[in-house]
Structures are given as C-alpha cells and as structure tokens.
Symmetry: C2
Subunit: 305 residues, 2 copies
C-alpha cells in the first residue's frame, strides 16, 4: 500500500569525528523516503529551491518514490550544517538556512490524497494539520515533531495529537512535551491526548512503543562503527511506516515487527553519510539485520526448572 | 550451588526527589547478597565496624546468607551519603567515610573456599586478586570495578582481568578502562585481556553481555516509579550470579536468562530505599517480572510473508 510523507528535503553539510560531507541529500522526508521505499511505494511532498540538484534524487525516483509532490520554488533550498563530536548522540547545529522551506505550504496532489498510510515528518504542526485536511481517511496517520514546535506551537501540537494515530518523538522531546521525566508517565500523558501508539526514540539507547495496555522495546543495534547519526530517527520512521504500509497489518505483533524494521533502517542509515547506505541496501541485508535483532534480545524463560 | 561474594557492607544515607533515608543497609556485598539469596545460598565476606547494627542483617541470615565471613573490626563502619536529583541516573556523593573498610583484608573462611561461584564486588583489585589466591578452582569468577580503581590501580586491574571469567562494569567505566567510546570496541578490548564474558551495564538503558561471538541485550524494565537507584548494579550482579549458581549451567542460553534475572533484581531494587524491596520480594513476583521482560522485547521475525 502506498505511503505519503510530508517533510523537509534539504542539503546537509556534516562533520563527524570520521570525516565530512558537503551539500549532501538531507531532510526528514528524504531520509524517511530512502528507508521506506525499500519496503513500499512512497509519495513525497516537500519543497526545494531552484538551486537543488534534482538529479541526486533520481535514485529515489528509480526505487519508487513518487516526486510529483516535490515543489520547486524560486529561491534557496533548505540547508543545514552540523557537527558531531565524540558523543555521537547529539548534533551541534552550526548553520540553518530555511530558504524556500520557510514558506512551505504543503499541497497534496490529487493522486496522493488516498494514501492509506500518512507520515507527517517534523514540520510546523499547523502545516501537519493542514495536510490532514487534504487527505481522505487514511488507515494510519503518524507524526513526528521537535523541541522547537513543542515550545513555539504547543496549542497547535496538542490539537494535532487529537488527529493522529501514532506519534514518534525522542525521549527529550517526550519529556519536554509532557513535563514528565519518567518515560512511562510521559507516554501515558500522550496516549490520553489522542494517539493510540507512542513511539519514543532514545537514539543509541533504542526505542519504546507504548499503547494503552502494552510496552515494546527494541534496542539500537550495537554497531562497531557509527559514522554519521544524521537522519537515523527519520530512517527509523521510514522503516517503521514502510513495513506497516507493505503489510497493511495494524495488529500488535506486526507493529512490533515494524519497530524492528525501523530500528534496522536507523542502524543502516548511520553507517555512512546522508542516505548513501540506504541507497545501496539489499533486502537480504535487511532480513539479516532483522534476524540479528532477534538474536540480540531473545531468551527462553524456562521458569519451571 | 553456593555463591561467594566479597565486597563492602556499609550504612547509606540517601536523598532522592521522593524522600530520604538515614543509616540504612548499603554496600555492594549487601545489595548483591540480598538479590542473590533469593535464588541460591550466599556466603558473604566483608568488614563492618563496632558501630554496625548487626540485627539489621538478620533478615539476610534468615534467607540463607552465611555471615561467617563478615568481620567486625574496632572502629567506624563504612558510611556513604549521597543524593539523586531528577536525573536518577547519577548519584552525587556528599560524604564517604571508609572507616574500617580502608584496612579491609579479605579472609575467606575455610568453609567458603570451595564455593563454585565467586563474585568480587567493587573493591581494590589487589584485594580481589588476593581473594582468588584463597579459593579453590571455582567454576566461575566474576568481578566488578569502578572509575576510582581504573584510575589509581590500572596495572593491578589489568592483572586481575587475566584471572576472571567475567566482568561487570558500567558503560562509563568500560569507556574509561578501554579508551574506546564505542561499546562494541570496548567489549572486544576487554575480551582480549582475559574474561570470556563482559557485561556492560547502562543503568536505565539496560545491559549488554558480550562474548567472543555473541551479543545479548536486556533493557532496564520501564518502571513508572524509580524511587532510589542506589545498589541497582549490585542487585543486578546478585540476580545474575545467583541465577547461574542456582542452575549451575554456563551455556549461552542460560547466561542470557541470568542477565534477565539480574535486570529483574535491579528493577526491584530501585523501587524502595536500601534492600527493602529485595527483602519482601516473592518468587512469584520474580517469575512475573521475568515474563514481563519477555513480553517487553519479543517479536516474531516473519521474514517470509
């Protein structure tokens, strides 16, 4: 089933302890689409400036990312420059130029309006809400957000929560949004405000998925080399939503598998700069990583010895 | 099978955001024994001063902790005073009085020397080594350590590593010891120096167990109320070693289960001050928590749909 994503398409310049990359593909919708398109057809809505190297998106188009909703506007593309020190868990933002992204107003093409799965990547909650007015009864709507919106658009974000089925956010954002330092309490707070599922991402420490009555946890895969953490959260969301859209199954066991596919995609994304690793990834490698995740956490209970 | 632990027996005064407790039972051997004795007979070696309230140890003795190796020396007992702020992951030490513990020289009673399982809790690595000279070919020797010894007794600690089968340490200590910020590399570094198993504890973020060819991960149990994190790591070690000693099985599947029992004991320990929760714990509650851990991480791979 097709999966609609609305978010940023950017150019990133990144420095890590292991190297640097200039003007490479970035943005939440880009990472999301790169991961999700390994599993299901993706429809992307976003905006780039007249300076954007469109040919670099070709590999995504080839893989089934429909770019009909990617608007080209006069002006400069969204650019982000950041650096990671040895603590790869937090980026230091050196420069942000929103460019044409600051006037982004998502227009969902007619042929995208019936996508059964919708992901509202991290943009202004007013725009996320606007997207929902343009789509026709999707089976599952998920959104992401960030500290900036939690601070500056709190009422709009709370309103959005009433209209989504699932939210993904990181642990710091969950604490900020809910003013609860305990993540179980934070999840409960969010669940009471609309979403039936809350996915709390903890970076290198894994991810929780909470529902009213269940908790699932997936570790981050213990990699020997984390090259560039940029986009890991969006690749996670892409793997998660891509798996749900591919299977069309919203049962708890399948949602758990989706978290594992998300974790797998996140773990691949960080192995190289930008979406490079996601682009050369094979299904065999994905299946192998899912098996590795299973081995990583499995144990027999054997309570009756 | 019996399990020998050598470590500190102290009096703690702790302040958390949820309350305070003065002069309660503390020390690594105390927390370890409280957890392990739920699973197997424990033999404790340590030292207390003439001021120690011995009657408070009675519940441990009743539960099968043999205190024949607990020396009473003239002078003051080891006292620690600490505080946790809202970030419950790190304690702020306000006072440490080593007292008689500063001259501790472990003497293993004859009847303890054949314990098949030995845990060298966090004490001077020279003393840990000394204990090993007094025991007779245990089946499994594990040790813990801390930043202070890594800094001040590095050569002695490296020597000790050659004589233990397993080490437990937290992520910060693993990084400090190995000068590797990546935990997979840190584990590999340690495995190359003696131990066949490395357990890296990450507090609220769970624990890894590494061997030459396998990795296992157990999350920390997502508790809604963490009351006092003091002793969680020692309770983890007690549950882990206690389970191994009870089953006498050193296979990989059983070591994995032992990590889960350790995680379960750690999760109980933090629910109340001192060893209170470990003292009133039932086997039914332990089994239930192990089942809850299983539910928390389990998923079907279903790779062939």
């Amino acid at each position: 089933m097709s999966l609609l994503v609305v978010g940023s398409v950017a150019l990133d310049s990144v420095e890590t302890p292991f190297g640097k990359a200039d003007n490479v593909l970035g943005g939440s919708a880009t990472f999301f689409a790169a991961a999700a398109s390994l599993l299901t057809p993706v429809q992307l809505v976003g905006v780039v400036g007249s300076d954007y190297p469109m040919e670099k998106l070709e590999p995504l188009a080839v893989r089934g990312v429909d770019l009909a909703g990617l608007e080209r506007a006069d002006g400069a593309s969204f650019r982000w420059r950041g650096r990671y020190r040895h603590d790869l868990n937090s980026a230091e933002t050196l420069e942000t130029h929103l460019g044409v992204f600051s006037h982004f107003s998502p227009k969902i093409p007619d042929q995208f309006r019936r996508a059964p799965f919708v992901f509202l990547a991290n943009i202004d909650p007013r725009l996320q809400r606007e997207v929902l007015r343009q789509v026709e009864r999707p089976r599952l709507v998920a959104c992401d957000t960030m500290n900036f919106w939690i601070e500056s658009r709190r009422p709009e974000l709370l309103d959005l929560l009433e209209h989504v089925d699932l939210i993904t956010l990181n642990d710091g954002e969950a604490r900020q949004l809910t003013e609860q330092s305990n993540l179980v309490k934070a999840a409960r707070w969010i669940l009471a405000r609309g979403p039936r599922h809350v996915v709390i991402k903890k970076g290198e420490h894994g991810a929780f998925m909470f529902t009213e009555s269940t908790v699932f946890f997936a570790p981050a895969y213990p990699l020997e080399n984390v090259f560039d953490p940029t986009g890991a959260g969006d690749a996670f969301a892409g793997g998660f939503m891509g798996y749900l859209a591919r299977t069309g199954d919203l049962s708890e066991p399948n949602l758990r598998r989706a978290v594992i596919y998300g974790s797998a995609m996140g773990s691949f994304a960080v192995e190289q700069f930008s979406i490079s690793r996601l682009l050369d990834l094979t299904h065999k490698e994905i299946d192998q990583r899912v098996r590795d995740f299973h081995r990583l956490v499995s144990f027999d209970q054997d309570l009756n010895e």
